[in-house]
Structure formats: C-alpha cells, structure tokens
Amino acid sequence: MLKNSFKEKININLLLYLGIIVVSVLILTFLDMNKREYIYAISIIERSLVFAVAALAMNMVTGFTGLFSLGQAGFMALGAYTTAILTIPVELRPNVYYMEGILPALENLSFPIPIAVILGGVVAAFFAFLIGIPILRLKSDYLAIATLGFSEIMRAVIASHMMDKITNGAYGLNNIPEFSSSIECFIYTSICIIAMILIINSSTGRDFKAIREDEIAARSVGINIFKTKELSFVVSSFFTGISGGLLAMYMSSINSSTFQITLTYDVLLIVVLGGIGSITGSIVGAFFVTAGKELLRFFDEPLTVAGVNVPLFKPGFRMVIFSILLMVVVLFFRKGLLGGKELSLNGFKKYSRKKEDKGIQVGGAS
C-alpha cells in the first residue's frame, strides 16, 4: 500500500510538471512566432528563467542546506566568462579583444553552446570545491562574508590587466551568441530547474535538510556533514555557473561590473520574496521580481500631471519599492510571499486521504 501511494505521488506530480512544461512550450512557441510584437515579453521571460535557475541554486545551498552563501555573483561570473570565451564566434574574436589580443590557446577554441554552458558550470563548481574546503568549516555568518569576499576577488581578478588576454580585462566581452529563440532558453533553464528539483527531493536532498535543521543531530545519524555541505555547495555553484553562462547569452555582452555584489543581492531578493526553502517560491519569485522591475519602470520616469511634476516619480523609485518589499517580507512574512507552500497535487491528495483515514477509523470503532 505504501509502495503504491509513493508511486502515485510521483506520477501525479510528474503529470503536473509535464502539464506546466507543455503549456509553457505552447505559449513560448506562440511568442516566438510573433517575435516582433512580443519582443519585450520574450526578453522579460528569458531573464526571469535565467534568474530562476540562479535563485533555485542559491536556495539549494541557503534554504535547503542552511549555508548562507553570498558568492552568487562570483560563480555567475565564472560561468558567464567561460561560456563567453568559448562561444564568441572565432572570426569576431580579434574585434572583441581589440586592445590586448587574445591568448593564442583560446584563439580558435570554440564549443557548441550547450557544452560551453555546461563547462561554465564545471568551472564554477571546481572553484566552489576548492574554496569550500576551508570555508565550509566556518560558522554560517563567517561563511556569508567569506563567500562575498570570494565573489569580489573573482571580480577583481577578471578585471585585472593580467587577465586581459583571457577576459579582456575591464573592457568586457561582447558578441556572445544570443538565444536563438525563447524556446532555446526555456530548454536550458528547465533542464536545470528539473535537475535541481530532483536533487532537492532525493535522499541527498534530505541529507541537506538534515544539516539545515541540526548539524549535531545529522552527524548523530551518520551524515558526514562536511562532505554533504561540500556537495551542496559544489552542485549549487555548478548551476549558478550555468545561470551565469545563460545570463551572458541573454545579455550578449558582459564585463566585470555586471557581477557586483548587487547581482548577488538581486538573486537573494528573489529567494527571500519567494520563500527560503521553497522551490516554487524561487521560480515564481524570479518572474515576480523581474517582471515587477520592468512594470515598475514607469515609476522611474518623471511624471507630469497637468503641468505639475509628481514628486515621487524619479529614477530609483522602483528599487526603493523592492527594498521596502524585501524588508516587509523579512520582518512579517518569514516564509516568503507564498507562505512556504509548494506547487503540487499532494496538497489535494493529503486532504482527501485525511478524510479517508477518518472514515476508516470510524468504521473500525463501530
């Protein structure tokens, strides 16, 4: 009986996810076919998808494993630069590296986009592995500042003259191939998202949660907390790196100032608004924040009503709104705007099963 209910649970959620994917593909195909008309919407959707990957990756390490990591911008930078260097069309490279030239070894090194993006993730994961060894032994708040520091170090290294022939130093990289269609972006991001959901809901994901809940108890049931933390950190950074690569494709040109601490804060904003430790929250949050920032853009334009300037409307207003929203959520809705609920049909199922149980109990008593 248990076997059946477990299987059923999986099947029913699978159906739900498949449904969402089919609907999304249909919508995106429609948008792609009318690209001219919907270019703005497509751009918002692509950006949201990329940030959903970054946010979910951050949530994996922060919300599910309880490690407060603020290195997102650094890992995204690693992924973005790797992807960019490996995918900028070879014939355009002399133009991109017009100042110092390109390292001969990289001159003709080119990979298909999916492989380059994955390599971006691998590079980020590798760095995470290395720095994880010392810093994951630290207490959570030191971990936050150490990862933040790592992110800044990465940015400084990327922008430095020594890296000119690889990262083009302060000039940044451009001519990065863009997504050919929103479907392409959707395929990459949804694979990442599904992979992360599978990990979080696996036995490995349960070990992550055990560490979040109580490290000493986790050790007492035989979990190697250091290995597991390292695993979570590396896997999260892998997907963060991929999201960086996708961001590079979305933006088509990047430089070191793209990856400032603000980028980490942007991802954190999504995670917190969506709910720390909520998968659905991170995905919905990514759309909410990205679309919200765009829709609120008009607040940033000076507004004149009947010849009078409305005083509130000027550049920066929408970010103030988001900052206040963040504070409100942190202070009053600690589980995020969705209240920590996950999208699944189990909610309905649980409800109906409870009813059933009651029925059986009554039956048994009589």
């Binding site: 248990l2 076997k3 036995s203 490995t204 349960r206 109580d214 108890a217 049931v221 035989g222 649980k350």
Partner: protein, 255 residues
C-alpha cells in the same frame, strides 16, 4: 560476557576545568547500564566523548575492542553507536517520517546521481518500507506526516529514540530519556526501554535523574561526581553506598 564499550582512564579538560578525571567504565553486551550523578558531574560530557563530539584529552575509548577515540561522530554512528540528546535534537521542521528516513540513509549506498535520477528507485522504496515498519512498531506511524516540532514532548522523545534505532545500533546511549516526564510516563518509558532492548538486541547506556527508573531498569550503575567515578555496582549496592548517599542520594531523600 562480551565487552562492548570500555573507557580506560579517560579524561577531558576544558581550559582549566577537568570535566572528567580518569573515568573507567565498561559495558557488556546486552546490559542496561546507568550513569548517575549530580548536575554538572560530567555525564553528558562522557557521552559526547563516546560519540566523538569531543576528543578526550587522555585515556582511551574502545568499542568492540577497537579504539574509537579519533573517529568522527558520523563514523561512530556507522560503527553501531546511536544516541539521543538531553534537550532533544530532532530535525524540527521535517516530518516524523523524514526524521526516521534520514537515519536509515547510512545503511544504503547512494550518490547524488543515482538518487536524483531515481536510478535506485527500488532502494528508496526499501528505505521507506523499513521506516514504515519501524514507525509502526514504535506506535508512531499515525504521526508520520506531522512536523516533528509540532508533536507533544513525550512523542518527540520517542521519535528521537526511533530515529536512533533506525541506524540499527548495537549500543544505544540515552541522555536523560525521562527528563520532564511525570511518574506515569516514566513508568511507561521504563517498560519501553526494556522492550526495545529485547526486541532489537541492544546494549543500553543511559544517563538519568529519575531514580525509580534507574533502579528498576539498570543492571549496573556508575556514579560520577565532579568528573570522578565515586561508585559502581548493582542498584542495591549503590543505594547502600555511603559515598553515593552523601554525594547524591542523600540530598535527594531529604528534599
């Protein structure tokens, strides 16, 4: 009798404080042994040494004839020593089922790829089946979907024991299992501890302040005061030991 756990001259020092001073202790297979002593005597510290949370400053700890003194807590659990904690350490925001399921993991081989891609789907089912059986046997199955922190105190204690049992231990360490329980609950717990000992073939070492429970349940008792062993013996011997009465029971009886 086969010796399961043996502490030889074990001492641990925190700064200037010698929390445990040359403790010698033995536990034989199948026994229920209690450690008693006033608050701050070093009982929990001894548990923390045995389970690898602290490393003793000197002396040795042998488990099944092998020294475990430099092993990490998780390795010690894997080798067959499980424990509960004085102030209950559950995975508070997870369900009862998940709490126990996590403790089953250590006996199954798994990695992130096989688990994420559900390649070892059968294994996951086996783990769940095992948890179900354990929860049912402990009368906890009805709480399986409840969040651990939402349970009544007594149930939380039992869940913590169930979680320890899920690691299939040989030796179970219980740190004040009856803390905060009324006489009736304590009596139930006494029966319960005996029953799991018989059912799972366990050896049990426990710390407890409820003297009724200790005297009823344990075959041998160690008394610690100020980090030093002051007496050991059967419940009868301990009850009549003047040193113990002076250090511990005397105070209790007058109160």
């Amino acid at each position: 009798m086969e010796n399961i756990l043996k502490l030889t001259d074990m001492s641990i020092q925190f700064g200037g404080l010698r929390a445990i001073d040359s403790l010698n202790l033995e536990v034989d297979k199948g026994e229920i042994v209690a450690i008693i002593g006033p608050n701050g005597a070093g009982k929990t510290t001894a548990f923390n040494c045995i389970t690898g949370i602290y490393t003793p400053t000197s002396g040795n700890i042998e488990y099944l004839g092998k020294s475990i003194i430099h092993k990490e807590p998780e390795e010690i659990t894997k080798s067959g020593i499980a424990r509960t904690f004085q102030n209950i350490r559950l995975f508070k925001n997870l369900t009862v089922f998940e709490n126990v399921l996590i403790a089953v993991h250590l006996r199954y081989r798994d990695n992130i790829f096989t688990s994420a891609l559900r390649i070892n789907y059968k294994q996951e089912l086996a783990m769940r089946e095992e948890v179900k059986i354990l929860l049912e046997s402990q009368d906890l199955y009805k709480y399986k979907n409840d969040i651990a922190s939402s349970l009544p105190y007594g149930i939380q204690r039992r869940l913590e024991i169930a979680r320890a049992l899920a690691t299939k231990p040989t030796l179970l360490l219980l740190d004040e299992p009856a803390a905060g329980m009324n006489p009736q609950e304590t009596e139930d717990l006494t029966k319960y501890i005996k029953s799991i000992r018989n059912k799972f073939g366990l050896t049990i070492l426990l710390i407890e302040h409820h003297m009724d429970l200790v005297m009823d349940i344990s075959e041998r008792i160690y008394v610690i005061d100020f980090g030093k062993l002051i007496a050991k013996g059967s419940p009868d011997e301990i009850q009549n030991n003047p040193k113990v009465i002076e250090a511990y029971l005397g105070v209790k009886e007058n109160a």
